[in-house]
Symmetry: C2
């Protein structure tokens, strides 16, 4: 651990201790705590909005970039929406205590694998003070303590929010140290060094920021940097569907990680369909870039460079590449995709199966928009992050990403020796009702 981490250590230990109590609470008790937090936020709405107003004014004086400013702003309406979101979390099923394995190993020797909280979460986010409320609610629901680090520009807002949250916790009889706020940049580095004290880091911000976090901590990180998703329009695609999907996947929310950046199109389909496809996207004010073949078919495309294929535009820009086969599409995705979500439009079930089996990504979609890759849309009730790592949890992660499990084995003096050697007693390994 770096030296910087020392002052933070006391905070982390206090959070861990508070989290131990949270971990033992019933679902009802946790839901009451969440309701108390929601009520406290309502009671302090004026102060929170005023603190945010001050942050916003300072941001204007500091010439904060416009999109950041938009995310910073928290007016009464947005606050009320976020508080409703807190109450939604109370209605989610409790992820803790679920019995995943229940097995008799032998007479009177019974194993259970039970879901338990991770312990302490470290959540680092840029701007967006409303994230504080959602994260605190999810942490309480999953029985975890949480150390929050907001952006410098939102310090006043975050402080007001966390004060209210702590007051709610206190009212519910819960140690307010369960939710902590850090405010300085130095503390971010120190937080990343707290291996063994913080169990999971969730970064929320730009790709560069997430990459920085991933590269500077040995604590597991839930999240993803780039989101370079593709739509492959096959020779046997329904062109009308493909156009609708491309439009939705590019324009519904261009800065989302599940928006597409590149459209791959089979040569046969390109010849007959690319003009209409390009026209529809052009009408929707998408800047279109194309490889040589695409530019030959649709002359108003801007020629792509190698860099285009590896870029997440996060904007109304789409690069188009003409391919000769589903294999070439898969190879392109394998080289440039970020293992997030990849879609194919085709009427041919064999081609679809090839694509979905062989593309290595958290999500593989057939005849639908990549925009569905989302925890809420998948029915998880909440989304704590989207992971593009290979190991689970992968893809959109709900509350189950904030819990782990432990094995509980109960015997009556059972020892291992009789189960070893040439006359070994066999295990029964009989599964019991969950």
């Amino acid at each position: 651990m770096a030296q910087d981490a020392q002052p933070l250590l006391a905070i982390a230990q206090a959070t861990r201790q508070a989290a131990q109590t949270l971990a033992g609470l019933s679902a009802d008790a946790k839901n009451r705590a969440i309701e108390a937090v929601a009520a406290a936020l309502e009671a302090h709405a004026d102060e929170i909005v005023a603190a945010n107003q001050a942050d916003c004014e300072a941001a204007i004086a500091d010439h904060l970039a416009k999109p950041l400013y938009g995310r910073l702003k928290l007016d009464g309406v947005k606050l009320a929406g976020a508080i409703a979101g807190v109450r939604d979390v109370a209605r989610l099923p409790d992820p803790v205590g679920t019995v995943q394995i229940h097995r008799e190993l032998d007479d009177g020797l019974v194993l259970k694998r039970v879901a338990v909280p991770l312990g302490v979460l470290g959540v680092i986010f840029e701007s967006r003070p409303d994230a504080v409320m959602q994260i605190a609610a999810l942490a309480i629901k999953s029985g975890n303590g949480v150390i929050l680090k907001g952006g410098r520009e939102a310090v006043g807002s975050c402080t007001a929010l966390v004060q209210a949250i702590k007051q709610g916790l206190r009212k519910a009889g819960i140690d307010p140290a369960a939710v902590q706020l850090l405010t300085t940049r130095e503390e971010t580095r120190a937080l990343l060094d707290l291996e063994g004290y913080v169990d999971l880091i969730i970064p929320r911000g730009s790709n560069a920021f997430v990459r920085f976090v991933q590269e500077n901590t040995r604590i597991p990180v839930l999240g993803h940097a780039d989101g370079i998703c593709h739509l492959y329009v096959d020779s046997e695609a329904d062109l009308e569907q493909a156009i609708a999907i491309a439009l939705d996947a590019k324009t519904a929310y261009p800065s989302a990680c599940n928006a597409i950046e590149t459209l791959l199109i089979h040569r046969d389909m390109a010849v007959v369909g690319l003009p209409a496809l390009a026209e529809a996207l052009h009408q929707a004010r998408v800047e279109l870039r194309g490889d040589e073949t695409a530019c030959q078919i649709v002359p108003y495309l801007v020629p792509t460079t190698e860099e285009d294929w590896a870029t997440e535009y996060s904007d109304l820009i789409l690069s188009i590449k003409v391919v000769d086969s589903v294999d070439e599409a898969i190879a392109h995705i394998s080289t440039y995709g970020s293992r997030h979500t990849e879609a194919i439009a085709t009427r041919n079930p064999v081609t679809a199966a090839q694509f979905m089996d062989r593309v290595d990504a958290a999500g593989v979609f057939h005849n639908c928009s990549t925009r569905f890759a989302d925890g809420f849309r998948y029915g998880f009730g909440a989304e704590v992050g989207i992971s593009t790592q290979k190991m689970p949890p992968r893809g959109p992660v709900g509350l189950e990403g904030l819990v782990t499990y432990k094995y509980r084995l109960v015997g009556d003096g059972h020892i291992s020796a009789p189960y070893s050697g040439s006359e070994a007693r066999p295990f029964t390994h009989r599964d019991l009702p969950l």
Copy 2:
């Protein structure tokens, strides 16, 4: 990626490509491949044993340490046992293809979460050439390619084994590049740098070796360094049971990670029970070390130093500490335990629940030996490693540790726009049969 990794890259890519085919095989086809591997190993038994003989002779000439030599040796009997182990893997349930979530998001828009292979495993082990066979079988069963790196002293044995395995794969019509062998130390470092090409590293060897691997790669590592497990004998323990458990947990296999290193005993029980407990362990030739109180009760104990509590002896040595409460026992475990397996002996269910709820470890055991912490004993059929990390997979990990999952979403032209905004179409989120 480091420069060293360049030559290895071609190997990793060949393995990844071979793995893609493996990933698509049916359970039957994979089992046939495993049988072909077992048959090929049998057919080449003489060459394998001879190659091992040569390795062993070189090891004697090199003055290889005796325990390492014991693990290196692979005679006909040990080989036959290992081949039987390969066939056992064929009988395990296929971990690939399991549908974990099956959900209608809306009419005609259906989500499935399906278990898929990780891709390419990197397995690095010291000595023990028999590990090659088990690992290759587990890799094939789980649809993964595997790059093996054995110890220098076992190069001849490993080469003979992998040649036979590749021949078996070829006979079954599978690209032999699915199983690769590296032989130089430089390649170990290069392997650890292959992030993006190797999906999971499994180190098998000493604690120091595992720690080295964990600290020198950004690829996920399945394994654990230290195994410092405790048995806490409560004031309300059944002394006879506690003695039997302590004996088993310490002496059945002292170098195992699930053996205990420290016995914690409640003061009240120590006064009446420690002499008998110590006598039983002493009779079993366990070297006993004790804190001040323990030494007062049992004078022949060697006084402990601070270092004892943090040491995995991997030998017939046990440190004993007298505590005043279950809280003190939990606090000691929290400071010195390695989150592997922790046991309590007590007849008091409330105390047991406190211990099991509050101790943070992969396994928490009540009135039974820590030695049960094992994939085979848990009924997983195989164990690919034991993880002491907080995030799943945690504890003993079976074949499920070698697979991940992907989300497959199938629609009929579904786009996200209708599900957004003030008149958003609701999702049905209806779970379908698995």
